[in-house]
């Protein structure tokens, strides 16, 4: 709550700058149009027109808000024009990819911590995997899966998982290694098995790290899903919405889809934050 005022101030500043930018960036087109029609515009008329264009270079905030509202509340949520429906399509693939990515990340991290060969071989290649231009292979992934008869949610989820496993891997390796020598020695002095060590020491101490990386991972999964939806002939989802908006030059639609995606991302991150607080509180680790 303490930060409500600062956030509002910054938001207000952003909106103000945005309006100015909208006028400035849309003005050339409006002037051109006026010149083509041989009319002279007053500055008031010019500003009014820049803020109400149908295909603005930069839509004004209220246009985006209206587009968002129209997409969310102006349709039945099962309608193909509903952002809720497209959001849902994206969300389901995101969650599936997030689940796969998290499982893979944790699995690899457990392997790395317990197996020296894995420790030395996996990490550099995991880094390299993230430098592969995902957008470039996304269509190929989709095609390869399609050739195996798998279409729809899974290929997108795999792309999402590709991006989200990495933060989980890094965070978990760090987390599983946080127990200090003394805590490990204690376990050793009690002659605890490796499984015991894992469940009673490594796993609980890694949870704060896990949650921190899960927040990064879910945002990455969303990006991955949208990337998967973009080029690959996806027919629904926020990515497809972005693309078709771009295809028809409907900037308002692009921006609405973009904001819908950002809101979705923020909501997901907040959700994980809530789960984190709940878990840590139940474990007595929240102070």
């Amino acid at each position: 709550m303490r930060s409500a005022l600062p956030i509002l101030t910054v938001l207000l500043a952003i909106v103000a700058i945005w309006y100015l930018a909208a006028v400035w960036m849309n003005a050339p087109w409006v002037r051109d149009q006026a010149a083509r029609a041989d009319t002279v515009l007053t500055s008031g008329e010019l500003i009014r027109q820049t803020l109400t264009l149908e295909r603005p270079v930069l839509p004004a905030p209220h246009q985006v808000a209206a587009g968002l509202w129209e997409g969310v509340a102006g349709q039945k949520i099962t309608s193909k024009r509903s952002l809720v429906w497209h959001g849902w399509v994206t969300l389901s693939a995101t969650l599936a990819g997030f689940a796969i990515g998290t499982a893979a990340g944790i699995g690899l991290a457990v392997g790395i911590v317990h197996n020296r060969a894995m420790d030395q071989s996996v990490m550099p290649w995991a880094v390299a995997s993230q430098t592969v231009p995902i957008l470039a292979i996304a269509p190929m992934v989709i095609v390869v899966f399609a050739s195996m008869g798998i279409t729809g949610l899974l290929p997108k989820a795999i792309i999402a998982a590709w991006l989200s496993f990495f933060p989980v891997l890094v965070g978990m390796v760090k987390g599983l290694r946080t127990p200090d020598a003394m805590q490990l020695d204690l376990m050793h002095s009690w002659n605890a098995s490796r499984a015991r060590q894992f469940w009673n020491l490594r796993l609980p101490s890694s949870l704060p790290y896990l949650f921190a990386s899960l927040k990064v991972a879910i945002a990455a999964a969303l990006v991955g899903t949208i990337v998967g939806e973009l080029p690959a002939g996806a027919t629904a989802g926020l990515g497809a919405r972005l693309l078709s908006g771009s295809y028809y030059g409907q900037t308002v639609q692009i921006w609405s889809a973009l904001f819908a995606a950002a809101i979705l991302a923020a909501a997901l991150v907040m959700l994980i934050g809530a789960v984190e607080r709940l878990t840590l509180r139940r474990m007595g680790m929240a102070r």
Binding site: L58, A117, D119, W125, V127, P133, A136, G239, L242, L258
Partner: protein, 280 residues
């Protein structure tokens, strides 16, 4: 049946690596990583041959290598266009802007509390969405790619840098107070050095982001060169080995970029515990 040789190679490599990893010297560690990578390539090549996967779906590593050797001139042009001009310029501008902003708002808790949540929000934004907009604004050439990269890397670095500037221990700050150090001195001698590990964290994360951003942006319009351009045209021409050669370039460039930043981190933050320990 046909999976048997693949399985055999895999198990062999696994055994070799398990044995090698016991030595844990610099050389064996490198060898283990290389063997791991080589194994993947061999398995890939074997799979493509044994299952007769059509090259337009998945070319074999040998074909990719051949294409790489044949097209070095094209690959170099694309590398310069996308990585050097697009990604690197954008990354440098974005990082400089983020660091400057972090220092600028360092003295204003008000601005920090206002900007950081919004920064986190923007950082979670699927950047692919802004690419078409920025291409529309900044034109087709590398400038728009750099702009996308700037936007992508700005907030992660900003958030890390702000956290870093705040990451001094109370005792270290109190000491500065007991010496009545002016703002400039405590910024320069305490907060900036203390922020370095965080800053590098942000810089490392964003190396891969920068590559993704530059390539994605080419997808929305580009001159007739660049890695993203080449990949999409080559797919259209079913020249998959060239596509994978470009991907290879991207992966090498990305790993190198990451490696250089990690090396710089090691040099700059030599004093940080995470750099002093060998294994965590």
């Amino acid at each position: 049946m046909s999976a048997l040789p693949i399985l055999a190679v895999w198990l062999g490599a696994l055994g070799l690596n398990t044995w090698l990893s016991r030595f844990d010297t610099r050389a064996t560690r490198l060898a283990v990583a290389l063997i791991f990578g080589a194994t993947i390539l061999i398995l890939w090549e074997m799979a493509v041959r044994i299952y007769a996967i059509p090259p337009v779906i998945l070319p074999a590593p040998s074909q990719i290598g051949a294409s790489f050797a044949r097209n070095t001139a094209i690959l170099w042009t694309d590398f310069v266009q996308t990585i050097l001009k697009g990604a690197l310029t954008g990354w440098l501008i974005g990082a400089a802007a983020a660091i400057a902003t972090a220092i600028a708002i360092d003295r204003s808790p008000f601005l920090q509390r206002g900007l950081l949540p919004i920064g986190n929000f923007v950082a979670a934004l699927p950047i692919v969405g802004i690419a078409p907009i920025l291409v529309m604004w900044f034109g087709f050439d590398w400038q728009s790619k750099a702009a996308v990269v700037v936007v992508m890397v700005f907030f992660p670095i900003l958030v890390n840098m702000v956290a870093g500037l705040a990451a001094t221990e109370p005792m270290q700050r109190d000491l500065m107070a007991t010496w009545a150090a002016p703002y400039g001195a405590s910024l320069w001698k305490l907060r900036l050095p203390a922020a370095m590990p965080f800053l590098f964290n942000g810089l490392k994360i964003t190396t891969t982001l920068a590559l993704i951003g530059a390539i994605v942006a080419e997808f929305f319009g580009s001159p007739t060169r660049g890695m993203g351009f080449r990949i999409s045209t080559a797919v259209g021409r079913l020249d998959l080995p060239l596509v994978w050669a470009e991907i290879l370039v991207a992966a090498i460039a990305g790993s190198l970029f990451y490696g250089i930043v990690a090396l710089a981190e090691k040099k700059v933050t030599f004093w940080h515990p995470s750099q002093r320990r060998q294994r965590g």
